[in-house]
Symmetry: C2
DNA sequence: TACTGTGAAATCGTTCACAGCA
DNA sequence: TGCTGTGAACGATTTCACAGTA
């Protein structure tokens, strides 16, 4: 999960738990799809399935917003779409700036979902003078020199950082000084910001590493006490069957095993060969 | 946080809590930076600061891996880098494929951090015949028809989906059928996958919506009980003090503007005007 | 009857605070 | 003396299970 410091910790603002807030956009998306198909009502069961959560959780989440359902019937789709939108602050328009128009920044600028609901790209900013004026996603890139002016004139409170890691902290400081209070950070660095500023991060390599952890575990489980040397060329044994799809499939909730293999770190082991930079 | 269904829920494999796993990459990054500066040891306090967490949490996290520190001294940087890398499965090479070479897919392909540590882009795949053969990030794009063959020949177990939402579910099914057991999904859809397959998602608009929620809240707080009529142009009366972070400074954390306007959800309100699609 | 709303229990995650060791 | 490792307290989140109601 890409998450950063989240507002004032401990003081859960008006009551809606953070975990619930993080799921509201998911519900909203599912509801919007239903709305487009003109479905008038949904049960917690159906909506939960569409959003990929379980129904008890969904009902509990909604209970924090109020009692918007009808027992025996379900939820009114349009009404819920509105209530959730309002709760998320999407009934108003949020101008955002994207700083760092490289491959990623440009991709973000072109991403439709951006402007889709409640957000509007107010400006694209880059430090490279050569980029200035160039159109990206139908909008001229502006130079970092004008960052403060842009933020202020457009009343921007949300900034997206897509610069190289080295520039991110400084960019965040300028954004914040100019009035931004929420940052979405795509640069692989930890930003340190003052209280009251929210940062969320999206980090490709962290996500991959988490997946790798689970992959390794799966492989270990399958091979049970099998192969002990991961050394060589990647190679994924574990072809077909794997733990994959298969319903019943033997080796079900093992877990235990996994341990064994990778585990046993007991012996201090030998000092490493250091990772490649 | 971008998070998806995570392996077999409830059966926390061998003991390392999911929340800890999600932080290991963060520690690893901080440690790598120290390693590059030839720093031999760090205390939990220092490392925690670099990773943006608090030291108690860091020590607890490390305690799940074993006792790798030295009381009174700290942790040996190189040694920890190795242990964490091993735990995350980064001592081996993971070939990955990226499916959907649009703006985002191309950006991902070009992203350095990808190949950097433990991962290798084995292939770029796109459904557009016109893309086939075109080089992106120094690698020819291949057509979706060959997806299964590519997965199998390269022993790929991790797939990245950067297609439009509409294609994502089907792509995931083909990837899984071909042997992939971990997916990083950038498409704004909920993927439904069989047990044993891990999915993590990265979703720009969800992150923005979460930020918007907090922005709205901040703005509302500033206006305190003040304005009963949200109408007018923002402006944060009740300056200073607010709950905000900030040093005194006059109208500091502005944000106000947007704010107030939408607030005031108290009364069940009237039925909505329906959101724009 | 079918489904929501919600206390209460179970689980998971964080923080505290201090014993123990180099 | 300084810092790790960890039991225990605490807090947040999820799940259960069922009472309540349209």
């Amino acid at each position: 999960m890409a998450t950063g410091r989240t507002h004032r910790p401990a003081t859960r603002s008006r009551g809606i738990p953070e975990a619930t807030v993080a799921r509201l956009p998911l519900y909203l998306r599912a509801l919007t799809a239903l709305s487009e198909r003109s479905v008038p009502t949904v049960s917690s069961e159906e909506l939960a399935a569409a959003a990929g959560v379980n129904s008890a959780k969904l009902r509990k989440d909604f209970s924090y917003l109020g009692s918007y359902g009808t027992r025996g019937v379900g939820y009114d789709v349009e009404y819920l779409v509105y209530q959730i939108s309002r709760e998320l602050g999407l009934t108003q328009d949020w101008p955002v700036v994207i700083v760092g128009i490289g491959n990623l920044g440009a991709a973000l600028a072109n991403y439709g979902g951006f402007s889709a609901r409640g957000f509007r790209v107010a400006a694209l900013i880059d430090a490279d003078p050569a980029m200035a004026g160039k159109p990206v996603a139908g909008m001229p890139v502006q130079h970092t020199d004008d960052l403060e002016k842009i933020i202020e004139e457009n009343g921007v409170s949300i900034g997206v950082i897509a610069t190289p890691a080295g520039a991110a902290q400084q960019v965040s400081e300028r954004l914040i000084a100019a009035g931004v209070t929420s940052i979405l950070n795509f640069a692989p660095t930890v930003l340190s910001v003052p209280d009251g500023v929210d940062v969320r991060k999206v980090d490709l390599s962290i996500e991959l590493q988490i997946l790798a952890f689970h992959e390794q575990r799966k492989a270990g489980e399958e091979a049970a006490a099998g192969a002990s040397v991961p050394g060589g060329e990647g190679v994924a044994e574990v072809p077909g069957a794997g733990s994959g799809a298969a319903p019943a499939a033997a080796v079900e909730p093992p877990a235990g095993r996994a341990a064994a293999v990778a585990r046993k770190n007991g012996p201090e082991g030998d000092v490493p060969a250091v990772m490649p930079a």
